[in-house]
């Protein structure tokens, strides 16, 4: 059992949960994830570790309640517990001193981006952070990111904060100017956003990395459900990833596979609502 020590709402349906998990806190590196199962009979869900405190033996998870299972997880009160958390899984981010890097986060992906951007800054990189969302209330962690970023650029689709539009507009501006053009780009967010970033950096061949979150069960390299096509080959996000060279990822196939259980999820949500009411 893993005790929930804090549970804060930081955006619409978006929670920051601090959980006691000493073994994971001690072993975890930026870019890795855990598999969470709330209770008996529930699904196993992969979630990227947002942060960890080795001294306190805690990990931080940022969870967007999008489906029935994530809604139940974020409903766990302080003092409550999560039955299973397994990890840290996946390969850690390869941190190197690129010089100038751009870190691009979309929606809840910004939370996943945070530890990575921090590690890149700690390694001596000049970090420009671009975060985007549909509206101002979906922009998260901007102050935390500003603490180590040389610049934080914000875009919203409705213009309620920062520049009106998409993260790719800010990135395109950086790429266009040799004085600001990043030496590497890290993008984490919805699949269409990561695909757009990848297409944007491809002509200039700027090294670009994305963190993928495909459907997964065990997360330990057993089931093969998380396979993604990278460079024309099947790779397993749980053991070969979750980070990959964006220019080699088949985003369309990833997007399609993520929709495998969409109908099931919709039905499941409706069922749970009915049970509640």
């Amino acid at each position: 059992m893993f005790e929930v020590l804090s549970n804060t709402v930081i955006g619409p349906s978006l929670h920051r949960m601090v959980i006691r998990a000493p073994r994971i806190a001690a072993a975890r590196k930026p870019g890795q994830f855990v598999i969470v199962r709330l209770a008996e009979g529930e699904e196993r869900i992969p979630l990227t570790i947002g942060d960890a405190n080795m001294a306190e033996g805690t990990i931080t998870l940022f969870i967007q309640a999008v489906g029935a299972s994530t809604r139940m997880i974020v409903a766990t009160p302080v003092g409550g517990s999560i039955r299973d958390i397994a990890g840290p899984l996946g390969k850690p981010t390869h941190i190197e001193r690129w010089g100038r890097v751009a870190c691009v986060g979309g929606g809840v992906g910004t939370a996943v981006l945070y530890p990575l951007a921090k590690a890149l800054a700690d390694a001596g990189n000049e970090v420009t952070t671009i975060i985007g969302g549909r509206a101002a209330n979906l922009i998260i962690l901007k102050d935390e990111l500003a603490a180590f970023s040389s610049k934080v650029l914000i875009t919203t689709e409705d213009g309620s904060m920062g520049r009106k539009g998409f993260v790719t507009m800010e990135l395109a501006d950086l790429l266009a100017d040799p004085a600001t053009c990043p030496h590497a780009v890290f993008a984490i967010g919805p699949v269409p956003m990561m695909k757009a970033v990848s297409e944007l950096t491809r002509p200039q061949a700027v090294p670009t990395y994305v963190s993928l979150n495909p459907i997964m069960i065990d997360g330990t390299g057993m089931c093969g459900g998380c396979r993604v096509t990278v460079g024309g080959e099947s790779k397993f996000a749980c053991v070969d990833g979750p980070e990959f060279n964006a220019h080699q990822v088949d985003f369309d196939n990833l997007f399609a596979r993520l929709g495998t259980y969409r109908e099931h999820e919709a039905a499941d949500c409706r069922l749970k609502e009915q049970v509640k009411s």
Binding site: D84, T220, S234, V239
Partner: protein
């Protein structure tokens, strides 16, 4: 029994049959197919054993169960003693009685089989193990030896790990199992379906091992959460039994379409997570109407029979050789056929065909014929030119096999591996690292439950010896 039978009388008794659920009914539910023998049938079957001097059956058993001894006690209706012998020799007898290929092991050596039918050793094992489970109050108390003060870590809670843990605990060592998943049993739980091995049986066997003092910590992935070097610092010896790894891909077009599963994923969803099987389970599974399973082993049979139970009208085995070459147990093939499974032999998949939304819509196949024997001794399938055709299907399951799991070994660079990534261990399970032993699929590649258990048992004996000399 009060009156001893003569040898002639024993020889005259015909082998008993395992009562089974009706095939039509069971092909739509997950209840156990084999119902177990009645007391009368079991005791009569026990009297078929002629208690021969050479005991060839014992040699045929990878864990060396004292088969004639427990059957002798059964024939005398002394079930507590029969159960004591069985549980002493085999950490998981109720499991073995269900999933072991006895026809290739103990029963294949039975002298009664040379002129007639072998004693149904597997059925008897299951009967005694189930009886012991149902009658704990009649079982003799297990006395454990004094603690040796030695600590052993076991990596993986599957058949090899559980067997080793039971043996080591009964020798007075403190045993801690580290399991990556959230429940016990490894492949026994995520791989073997409920209708062959009910989860309650695994729970009961594991609880017995826990009563010997075995501790199990879940959600610990050795190689990620902790490393082998950490375990070596903390424990006197380590037994690695973390099982098989990633599925071998078919490497044909369309493998990433929606509705294509590797056997491990399909079975894990249904068996471990309860998808389509337990009401209220939140993990989904795509239930196809026309399901093709590629492969001819026991895993393929488990998948195809599961597909029937999830509602498939056509559940099909696609195999490139003939039924004669199929590695699956005869009983599995028989049960699958009775349940309406179609066997499409001498057929190889060429590609998986998708519809406009990325869902599986067909399997492009080619007919094969058998050519010369290959290096495995089996006839090599050769494509028949111009025989390509498309089979309409909505789910495809790849059950061709698995590769070695890389997670533990990636963080143990000094551990010797073979070219496939399997750990190199000698006949006692000893690796090149002092105090580190390994067994089961991580050493053998894909093998059987009982061979993994045999590894667990011999490694435990070697660990005992090694700890005694330390």
């Amino acid at each position: 029994m009060t009156t001893k039978l003569t040898a002639k009388e024993r020889m005259a008794i015909a082998r008993t049959h395992m009562p089974e659920l009706d095939a039509v009914v069971r092909s739509r539910n997950f209840e156990e197919v084999n119902q177990g023998l009645s007391l009368e049938a079991a005791l009569q079957e026990a009297t078929r054993c002629i208690q021969c001097k050479n005991r060839p059956c014992v040699e045929g058993c990878p864990v060396g169960v004292s088969i004639p001894e427990f059957i002798d006690r059964m024939a005398d209706n002394d079930l507590p003693e029969a159960a004591r012998i069985l549980q002493r020799d085999n950490a998981l007898p109720a499991v073995c009685g269900r999933v072991c290929p006895q026809e290739k092991q103990c029963e294949s050596k039975c002298v009664r089989g040379t002129k007639g039918e072998a004693v149904a050793i597997g059925y008897l094992e299951r009967f005694v193990a189930d009886w012991a489970m149902a009658n704990p109050d009649k079982m003799p108390e297990i006395s454990l030896p004094a603690s040796t003060g030695k600590k052993v870590a076991v990596v993986g809670c599957g058949p090899a790990g559980l067997t080793a843990a039971g043996e080591l605990a009964r020798n007075g060592h403190k045993v801690s199992i580290f399991e990556a998943l959230h429940d016990t049993g490894g492949v026994l739980r995520y791989g073997i379906p409920e209708f062959r091995l009910p989860k309650a049986i695994i729970d009961s066997e594991v609880n017995r091992l826990r009563s010997y003092g075995v501790e199990i910590e879940f959600n610990v992935i050795v190689g990620k959460t902790i490393t082998l070097p950490q375990l070596r610092d903390e424990f006197d010896a380590v037994f690695i039994a973390n099982g098989a790894g990633l599925p071998t891909m078919l490497n044909i077009p369309g493998e990433n379409l929606k509705g294509v599963y590797a056997a491990n994923e399909y079975l894990t969803r249904v068996n471990l997570m309860g998808a389509g099987r337990i009401p209220g389970a939140t993990t989904p599974v795509i239930k196809g109407k026309n399901v093709a399973i590629i492969g001819g082993g026991n895993t393929a049979m488990d998948c195809v029979r599961t597909a029937r139970r999830l509602g498939a009208d056509r559940a099909m085995i696609i195999y490139r050789r003939t039924e004669k070459e199929m590695p699956a147990r005869l009983e599995e093939i028989k049960h699958a056929k009775e349940e309406g499974v179609e066997f499409i032999m001498l057929t190889a998949p060429l590609s998986i065909v998708g519809d406009k939304d990325g869902w599986v819509s067909g399997l492009a196949c080619q007919k094969m014929e058998l050519g010369e024997p290959d290096s495995s001794g089996r006839c090599k399938p050769v494509p028949v030119a111009g025989s390509e055709y498309e089979l309409p299907v909505d789910v495809v399951i790849n059950a061709v096999g698995t590769n070695a799991n890389p997670l533990l070994t990636a963080t143990a660079p000094d551990l010797s591996l073979n070219k496939w990534g399997n750990i190199v261990a000698n006949e006692n399970g000893m690796t090149n690292l002092e105090g580190v032993f390994a067994g089961g699929d991580i050493v053998r590649g894909g093998a059987t439950v009982i061979l993994a258990m045999g590894d667990g048992k011999s490694a435990a004996a070697a660990i005992n010896k090694w700890l005694a000399g330390k």
